[in-house]
Symmetry: C2
Subunit: 136 residues, 2 copies
């Protein structure tokens, strides 16, 4: 993740303690934390960090393409640091657990021209739902 910090610095990001901590919190494999969870973990290291800053930083990381926003339910948005490896999500309908998955095929290619209605289609998002082994 220090790569990430370097990359952002190169783009003129001012490196603050708060941003560093948020980036470190996200630097786990396969985490899909809510903003509040990110805030809680960040606050363990930097007790005074505010929610607003966590939201700001997450928003910046998203628009820089370093983190993905995924909305798996009607509750809180989740933040996925695995932005540089295309993947989709498998969500447990009971406990909300999220796993990264890699379906075969290219869903974008599966949308024929006559089903695009003149849209310039740039992105597709696939969410699988089911029951995880723990909840079954």
């Amino acid at each position: 993740m220090s790569d990430l910090l370097e990359r952002l610095r190169g783009r003129g990001w001012r490196l603050t303690a708060q941003r560093r901590v948020v980036a470190e919190v996200l630097d786990g494999d396969h985490v899909h934390l809510t903003a509040d969870e990110v805030h809680a973990r960040a606050a363990e290291r930097l007790p005074e960090i505010s929610r607003a800053t966590v939201y700001n930083t997450l928003g910046e990381l998203v628009s820089l393409g370093e983190v993905l926003e995924v909305s798996t339910d009607r509750r809180a948005m989740r933040y996925d640091p695995n932005a540089h490896h295309p993947h989709q999500h498998l969500v447990c309908a009971k406990c909300g657990t999220v796993r990264d998955v890699h379906p075969a095929g290219d869903p974008l290619a599966d949308l024929p021209d006559n089903e695009r209605f003149g849209f310039t289609v740039s992105d597709v998002e696939v969410t699988y739902r089911g029951i995880c082994p723990n909840c079954a």
Copy 2:
């Protein structure tokens, strides 16, 4: 949509003026209204209908499988009466317009067993994003 009302009556639904109006509002082709929009349209016919009742009724229709909930952005949930014909959604990233689309292939079948992690996968939801002709 009177089919719908009959079907629901058969399941013990008590048929009230409010529920009838909500069902009628949803009885349009390819509409993807928010709860507030449903409420506004319902209120044209039945001025005293409350938001709470609209939410209740929509929730019931969803759990009865007669209407689909689609969350196309981080804003309000949308309600899709086209529940009996499998389809996916194409969303304009600018204006939010939603169109029903029918991609080729079966995304469920595209998720291999070794990518299911023991989940019982029951459903998949595909959202295409792009820019519509009007916004381009």
